[in-house]
Structure formats: C-alpha cells, structure tokens
C-alpha cells in the first residue's frame, strides 16, 4: 500500500492541483491556461508516462516487480511534488504570483527529472558491465585492529545529473556510505574505515548501489553487488595467576612415569666396568666395538600435566537475541579460552583445546604450530544450542571449562567463569526524545517520525533481549563451583580470581 501511495504521488497531486486550478479560475482565464498547459506540460507528462511504462514492462519481462520500476520518487521528491501541487492550488485560490512560480518550478523540476531518470537511469544500462570488487584490509584481521573496507568499481557509468550511492559495511561493525558525484566514472576506488575489528568469521552481504539525481528527487532500484568475506581473529591477552588453574586439583606436581623397560630404547653407552649388570650389555655394539659396551638408563622426565580446555558456547536462544551483549560475551569467552590455553601451554602443560563449532566438536592441541588454526577456530566460535557441553568431555582428562554459565555436571571440572555483567556493556537506557529538540541534526532523515518510531522499537527489542540474555546466563552457587575461578579484565590482561 505504501508503495502504491508513493507511485500515486507521481500523478495524483499534479492532477488534483490542475483540477482545482481549473475550478477556481474564472472562465475567461481558463482557455489560455489550458492552452499553455496542454502545450507545455502535457507533452512532458506523456513522455514521462511512456518512459515509466516502458520501464515497468521491461521489469515485468525480467521477472522483477513492475511496481518497483515505477517507485522512483524519493521522500524529498514526493515532498516536492506535494509542495508544488499545494502551491499551485494556493496560487489559484489566493492568487499570489510567487506561489504560482514555486508550484510550476517544483512540478517542472520533478517532471523533467522523473522523465530523465526513467529514460537514462532506471533500466539496466548504467549497471551493464559494472564490476564491483570488495576486499578488506587486512584480509585477516585481529580483534581490535583497524579494518578498512575497499571497493573497486569498474565499468562505472553514472549518467549526467546523477550520483551513485553505495552502502556497505560488515555485521557487528559500522555501516559505510559512499557518495560518488557524476564525475566519478570509469574506474573508482572506494575506501572507508570500519573501526576496531570485532571477532568473527563474516560472510559480508553484497554492497547496495543505487543512482540518485543531484537534487535527490528520484532514484533507481537498488543493485546488490560485491559480496566478500572477512575473518577477524581473536586477540589473546596475558593471564594473571594462571598457575592456580594447573594446580587446582592439587595434582599438577604428579608425574606420570614412563613405562620403559631397561631393555628398551636407546640410551647412553659406555665401556663395561666391573660390577655392571650383565643384562645391560649391548651385545651388538660390543661386537662392533670389540669390547663390552653397556647401556645406561638415562633419567626419564615426568610427563607434562595435561589439560582439556573446553569452550562452553552452549546457550539456547542466544544466537538470535538482538543485543550486542551476545557478541561481546562470546568474544570474551573466546579470548579467555585461547589466552588461558596459550598461557598453560607456555607453562609446560599439555593443553587440548576443545570447542563446538556449529554442530561439530573440534579438538586441537595447543602448540606453536597450531596457534593459527586455533585462532581461526576462535574466530568461528559462536553461541550454539546443538552440542551439549558433556559431549566435549573425555574420560579421565583434567578439564577446564571456560564458560559464562557454570552448572552442575556429572564429571569433575574446573570452571573459569566469564561473568556477563563484567564483559559486556551496560544496557542502554530507553530512548527518550527531548521535547524541544530533534534527536539528530535538523535535516537528517532519521528525524522522521516513522524512522524514529522504528528506531525506538528496535532499541526496545535490544533492551529486552539484553534482559533475556541476563536471565539465560544466570548461575547459582553449588559444589560444582569448588575450585573454580572468575575471569575479570585487568587493563589489557585478564585476572583469575578463585571462587571461595
């Protein structure tokens, strides 16, 4: 219905104004006016209608909405049509010459530009041969880095009197907007800073491109070109008081003796000395050396303690909640998970990183050569509901779970709790408009009542989602928290505080 009203704006106000003018003027003046109107406006009106009709038929032939081809007036364009029509009617009723001039100027500009738009821009011609290449610099970013969006538009043909508007951006980052004047044609490079990168593996939707005349009255339909991919790796940070994790169960000093017999393996050799155990004589070497050679058992180091570091991202419903807190908390979980794993590994602990990515369980040992793969794994981590945390356990392994929601489990585990209220931004207050001032600078489109209402509704949805997220993450005390830790930010590092 709204689209139909927008399309009707092309014709209805001017025809209504024309009817009112005819009714209001005395008969003696109607003939000259009719002659002038028929001679000046009707041909333009016919050309405009014909051009729009051709575009509508063209769209229907291309299996697109023919209404979309007619919906070419922007909000300022529709406002101008109504303003001009009202001014024309006013000129007929009150007779002010300036109203007549304003009305005719407005209608003339709109008719000319709608005709021009329908003739040169509303079809496929400007987009034929257009190639949009989209990339990000750096291609693989690290959380917190400044990321730039780069678009290269080749084969660009902006018709005279038009601007090209490009709207891009990446989810969880700022949107980008580019305005290209008519002199930008051929090949154009566009670049915008997206701000600090946020962790994730993003399939970036194509950029939206459309043409709009220089007066902002008409526009073409939106073209979507230039899909891309961006990977932002998590940034690991230092962990304070990490030794407590390894010693949480009190068995960090226990070594696992190597099960190697004296007859096995290859050890240090020396010449036989009286009193040596005869079983230690290395007969093969003795024959080669033509003297008795014995092998000595070297000292066997105790095995490194092993830890299974689990990332707990199981939370039903969190993935669809429209609140930034979900992303912020997931970022924090991944950051703590990877940082703790790296720190433990550096301390001599054998760490196996375990996470549920999508609907599969991924295990990778934390080693220098696998850090890149683990970071990519961290980039892909997101809230999921398919894999329960029990599926990530292994028999007999010491388990450390990085979670925002500790809960009783059958198995014994050490929790590193990442509290939601510490790692996410505070809930914004409800949007309240000032009585006397606009929320945005005068002239901004987002001051419109309808947009503002949508914004308030979206804000309210976000706030409610934040509350739901809070409730989903509520956790209670219990024996399962014995020996667990809370991760808190401390500057650029993370501090672990034992729950006592």
């Amino acid at each position: 219905v709204r689209r139909a009203v927008r399309i009707a704006t092309l014709f209805a106000p001017s025809l209504a104004a024309w009817a009112v003018v005819h009714g209001a003027l005395p008969e003696t003046r109607q003939d000259p006016l009719t002659r002038a109107g028929v001679a000046a406006l009707v041909p333009l009106f016919c050309v405009m209608a014909a051009a729009l009709l051709v575009r509508a038929v063209e769209a229907a032939g291309a299996r697109r909405s023919w209404l979309e081809a007619l919906d070419i007036l922007t909000a300022p364009g529709r406002a101008l049509v109504w303003t001009a029509a009202v001014a024309t009617v006013g000129a007929a009723l009150v007779g002010w010459a300036s109203l007549a001039v304003l009305g005719l100027l407005g209608l003339g500009v709109v008719y000319v530009l709608v005709t021009w738009t329908a003739l040169v821009a509303a079809g496929e011609e400007p987009w034929r041969g257009l190639d949009v290449a989209r990339a990000f610099a750096p291609a693989i970013a690290v959380e917190g880095d400044v990321v730039r969006e780069q678009l290269t538009v080749a084969g660009l043909r902006i018709p005279a009197g038009f601007r090209l508007i490009v709207r891009g951006g990446v989810p969880r980052h700022t949107a980008t907007a580019y305005v290209l004047a008519g002199d930008a044609a051929g090949e154009v490079s566009l670049e915008a800073e997206l701000g600090p990168a946020r962790r994730g593996d993003f399939d970036v939707a194509p950029a939206e491109l459309w043409l709009q005349d220089v007066f902002g009255l008409c526009r073409t339909r939106v073209q979507r070109l230039g899909a891309a991919h961006l990977t932002v790796l998590p940034r690991t940070v230092g962990i304070d008081a990490l030794a407590a994790i390894a010693g949480a169960r009190g068995d960090d000093a226990d070594s696992a003796p190597a099960r190697v017999l004296p007859t096995e393996g290859c050890f240090r050799l020396r010449a036989y000395a009286p009193g040596d155990d005869a079983r230690r004589i290395h007969w093969v070497r003795s024959l080669m050396a033509r003297e008795l050679v014995v092998r000595l058992p070297d000292e066997l180091p105790p095995e490194q303690p092993a830890v299974r570091m689990i990332l707990d991202t199981q939370l039903v419903g969190a993935a669809t909640l429209p609140t930034p807190a979900t992303g912020q908390l997931c970022d924090a979980l991944v950051r703590v998970w990877l940082s703790a794993g790296q720190a433990l590994s550096a301390a001599g602990v054998r760490v196996t990183m375990v996470a549920a990515i999508g609907d599969r369980v991924v295990e990778k040992p934390m080693a220098p050569q696998s850090s890149g793969a683990l970071l990519k794994l961290g980039a892909q981590a997101a809230w999921q509901a398919a894999t329960p945390i029990e599926a990530l356990f292994a028999d007999g392994a010491r388990t450390v779970i990085v979670s925002a929601r500790p809960r009783p489990l059958d198995s014994t585990a050490t929790w590193i709790v990442v509290p939601e209220f510490v790692w996410t931004d505070a809930e914004p207050p409800p949007l309240r408009d000032a009585w006397t001032t606009l929320p945005y600078p005068a002239g901004a489109a987002d001051n419109r009542w309808l947009r503002r209402r949508h914004e308030k509704q979206a804000h309210e949805r976000m706030r409610r989602a934040g509350v739901v997220f809070d409730q989903l993450l509520q956790w209670s005390d219990g024996p399962h928290l014995e020996g667990s830790f809370v991760a808190r930010p401390r500057g650029v590092r993370v501090a672990l505080e034992a729950i006592s």
Partner: protein, 537 residues
C-alpha cells in the same frame, strides 16, 4: 549532535544551504529596494526579512522542533508587537517577519527546502510583478521580468542541490545505526564528463524556466485597487471662462491601478485612466456581466466590478471640479500643451481623447454628443478652477540594475568562453615545456617533466593516478606502452641513482611513446575535451 558529527561539522554542512538561501533573499530584497521610494516600509521589509530568516535558521541549526520554533515565533510576536506598534512600526514588518522566520526554519529541513524557497522567491517576484498589468501579464512581461524569473529558477535549483548535498552528507554520517563516510578516488574517467554535466544542468534549468515562464503567468491573478486621486482637464470639452477665454473644466477622479496579486501589498501595477461615464466607459448595469461578455463594457468583468467605486467618485456627467479636496489649491497654471488652446467651442466637438491606456481593451468609441455640453452653473463663475498637482509618484526604475545584472552575466559568460578558448594554448605551452624546457633545468627535473607528459597522455585517456600510487604500480595498472620504462627511470631519479643523458633520451622517447600510445584510441570528442581540460593531470 550525534556522536559522529560535531557542531562545527553540522554548521559546515549547513553553510551552502544557508548561503544560497541568503543569496536569493538578499538579491530579491535589493531588486525590490530599487523599485521603492518609501524608506519606512522598505526598512521594515528588510528588517523583517533578515531578522526573521536569521531567527528561523538559527533555531533550525539548534535542532529545535517545529512546534517549539512556532511557539518561539508566536511568543516573540506577542511580546514585541505591542511594543513596536507603540513605536510606530509599520504592519508590513510583521507581515514579513513571520513568514521569513518560518521559511528560514524550513530551509534547513530534510524535505522542506523547496517550500522554504517561497519567501526568497516572493521577494524576487515583487520586482517581477511590480510593473505588470494584471490583466495582460503576457503582454507586459519584459526582458527584465524574464531575467529575474530566470534568477528565481536558478536559485530554486541551487537550493535543491545544496539541500540534497547536505542531506547526503548527513545520511553518510549520522543515523540510528553507526555509519561512516567513505572516500572515493578516481582511477579512470571517460572524457567529456564535464561537458555532459554542464549540458545537463543547462538543459534542466532551461526546461524548468521555460515551463514556469510559459504556464505560471496564466495563474497570476489581477486585482484592481483604488488609485491616486488625479485632477486633469476634461477631454476636449471646453466649458467655463477664464478671463475672456473659455477654459476646460477640471475633473478630479481616482485612477484605478491594476496589478498582479502578491503576498506583500506593495506592487505598483499599471494605472488606468479614471473611469468617466460617457467618456471612456459606460455606467454599469446591474447585469454588467452581459456587457463584459458582449465586449461592450469599458473593461473586462473583474475590472468593471472593482472599478465601480472609482467610477462612483463623481456623479455621471459631472465634469466640474469636486469641491472636497484636502490639499491646498495649487496656483493657477497655464494650460498644459495637451490641452487645445482655448477657442470658441466648435460647432461640432471632436471626439473625446481617451488618455493612453495601452493594455486595456478600448471601449467602443462613445458617440460624441451632437451638441456641446451645456455649461454647468459652476463653470460659469468667473473664478479659476482649482488645479491640483497629481500626488508625487516617482517609483524608482530597476531597469538600470537589471541591465547591470545582465551585463555582468554576459561578461561572466564571455570570460568563461575566453578561458575555455585559451586552454588549448595553455596546454600546448605546457606540453612544449615538458618536452623541451624553455629554460635550463636539472636532469632530475627534466625526468619529472617527462613523467608528467606521460601522465597527461594517460589522463587524456581517462587514467587517473591514485593518491600515493607508485609509478611502477600505475604502469602495471594501465598497461600502456612506454609507461613502465618511464616509471623505471623516474624511480631511479627519485632514489638518487646516477642518471646520464642516455637515460634522459630513453625517458624522452618512452614518455613521448606513452603519450601517443595512451591517446591513440581517443575519438574526436575526447581529444577536444582533453584540449580544454585543466588541470592537465
């Protein structure tokens, strides 16, 4: 102000809109001022327009809501109106101030800039309609009116353009969702874009102006006002005696004015001769429309209706001076040359001469009386008829200013044409210097010159060097023969490696080759566009 836009940037974005609006307003006021001679009303119009516009735009720049701005206007009017009225401020001040403030406020709105243009357009239209005959607008529209109307159309388009630029800048910076504005760099541009853009602008402006000038005057409406009271000799009818000679009687009547209706009640319009029943018009019957339709009346229907009060200023057939005049009687003057010398009344009087009224349909000549009118009793008294000078009405003529504006426009156009015509010469001189310097230059400078020559050729073909793009990168991107060799020599020169005359000769050959290779596919139009392009790279 949102987080992504500062107050300074907000004001900077609004500056072009404000400048265009004020430009149109001030031009309209200046033109209007040249046609007026009443300083008090003129000052009120200026004060109301300027103060109102500043107030409205100031409130808009403070992001004030519409209802609050309206409340401020109303409150200000309520408080100040009595004070200014006591001080003798003319009512036109408020008539101007309120719409000026309203339109100033709307000029910075998202979709209201066009509506806001009504006020500057109205000030310009005061000059356009000032001398127009409301009943024959098309006939009395002169070049001056078309020039001003063209200026109004240009101002309207300029305001729409600047308002849209501001809207787009705000779109790219502020909003419910965080958004950043990106930068664009041209890598390759087809030739002739500037010409196409200029042609488009000219076509849109011309077609809009033509539509407006063609149709809008038909919507203008005439209004007839009580005119000035004038006293003049009766036409060709000699009665009364002055000394031994008969003198013509004086007639005092109101000369109605017909003008185009406008918001401000200040236009002069065209003065019509006083209606004299039996001389230049007939007495209106109750069903006067029949006269109008039949063309028998002295004026068209609306005029006949509104001139009725003027015609009633004197009784039908009354050709004697009206006694009740407030002004002091002027000393007797010699009859004006337009009056026939006093002679004995001819046996057959000449038909009455209607004073010039070029735009009014001439009524059918009134049948001359077969006999001279009978002398009136008052005319027989031996006193000179009082003669009153017509009230001073010396409105200034704006034609000189308009001529000046036209001269300036023509001069500007000639300057542009001359500049364009000289550009090929400028280009030839520059290219000659790049190839063979007019004065001695260092080896490195000559290498740089030759690189510029290659860049000029690439620019002719539409290739643009990106900011920060290295010569080797550019050479790889464009793939034009010779550019790579030029880039190699230039890199050596930039890094201070030794160059000799051989390198220079190699560079010269490569640059010349690149210049030619880049331009080899250019058509005639592209070559012509390149010849007038500036800057060259």
């Amino acid at each position: 102000v949102s987080a992504t836009i500062t107050k300074r940037m907000r004001d900077r974005l609004a500056a072009p809109v404000v400048a265009v609006y004020w430009g149109a307003l001030v031009v309209g006021l200046v033109l209007y001022s040249t046609t007026r001679s009443d300083p008090e009303a003129l000052g009120a119009v200026w004060a109301g327009a300027l103060v109102g516009t500043a107030l409205g735009q100031g409130l808009a720049l403070r992001n004030v809501r519409g209802w609050f701005a309206a409340a401020v206007f109303a409150l200000g009017a309520l408080v100040l109106a009595p004070i200014l009225a006591v001080g003798g401020a003319p009512s036109v001040l408020w008539q101007v101030l309120v719409p000026a403030a309203l339109c100033g406020f709307l000029s910075l709105g998202e979709r209201t800039a066009a509506a806001a243009f009504w006020f500057p357009a109205m000030t310009c239209m005061l000059t356009v309609v000032d001398r127009l005959d409301g009943d024959a607008v098309e006939a009395t529209m002169d070049a001056r009116a078309f020039v001003v109307l063209g200026g109004v159309a240009a101002g309207f388009l300029a305001l729409l353009w600047t308002a849209e630029r501001r809207r787009l800048a705000l779109f790219a910076r502020v909003g419910a969702a965080p958004v950043v504005s990106g930068r664009a760099a041209r890598l390759r541009e087809p030739a002739g874009r500037t010409v196409a853009r200029a042609g488009w602008w000219a076509a849109v402006a011309a077609s809009t102006l033509a539509l407006t000038a063609w149709v809008a005057p038909h919507l203008w409406q005439a209004e007839t006002l009580r005119g000035e009271r004038v006293t003049e000799f009766a036409d060709g009818v000699g009665v009364g005696m002055r000394g031994a000679l008969p003198c013509c009687p004086l007639v005092t009547a109101e000369a109605p004015r017909v003008r185009v209706r406008e918001f401000l009640d200040v236009a002069h319009g065209v003065e019509r001769p006083p209606a004299r029943v039996g001389v230049n018009c007939l007495a209106c019957d109750p069903d006067w429309r029949l006269f109008a339709a039949g063309g028998a009346g002295a004026a068209t229907a609306p005029i006949a209706a509104t001139t009725a009060p003027a015609a009633a200023a004197h009784a039908p057939g009354d050709v004697a001076p009206l006694p009740a005049l407030s002004e002091a009687p002027a000393p007797p003057q010699a009859p004006t040359p337009t009056v026939a010398p006093p002679e004995p009344p001819p046996p057959v009087p000449t038909p009455p001469v209607v004073p010039a009224a070029p735009t009014v349909a001439e009524p059918p000549p009134v049948a001359p009386s077969p006999a001279p009118p009978a002398p009136q009793p008052t005319a027989a008294r031996p006193v000179a008829a009082p003669m009153h000078a017509a009230p001073p009405r010396a409105p200034a003529d704006a034609s000189a200013l308009v001529h000046l504006l036209v001269t300036l426009l023509v001069g500007a156009a000639m300057f542009v044409v001359a500049t364009l015509a000289l550009r090929p010469l400028r280009r030839a001189i520059t290219l000659r210097h790049l190839v063979r310097p007019y004065w001695a230059e260092s080896l490195e400078q000559r290498v740089s010159n030759l690189w510029q020559l290659a860049l000029v050729g690439l620019r002719d073909a539409g290739w643009c060097a990106r900011a920060g793009e290295q010569p080797e990168e550019l050479a790889r991107r464009v793939g034009v023969d010779g550019v790579g060799a030029c880039a190699a020599v230039l890199e050596r020169a930039r890094h201070g490696l030794g160059l000799d005359e051989g390198d220079l000769a190699k560079m010269a050959a490569a640059a010349d080759g690149a210049y030619r290779a880049a331009r080899v596919k250019l058509g005639l139009f592209a070559r012509a566009a390149a010849a007038v392009r500036w800057p060259l790279t």
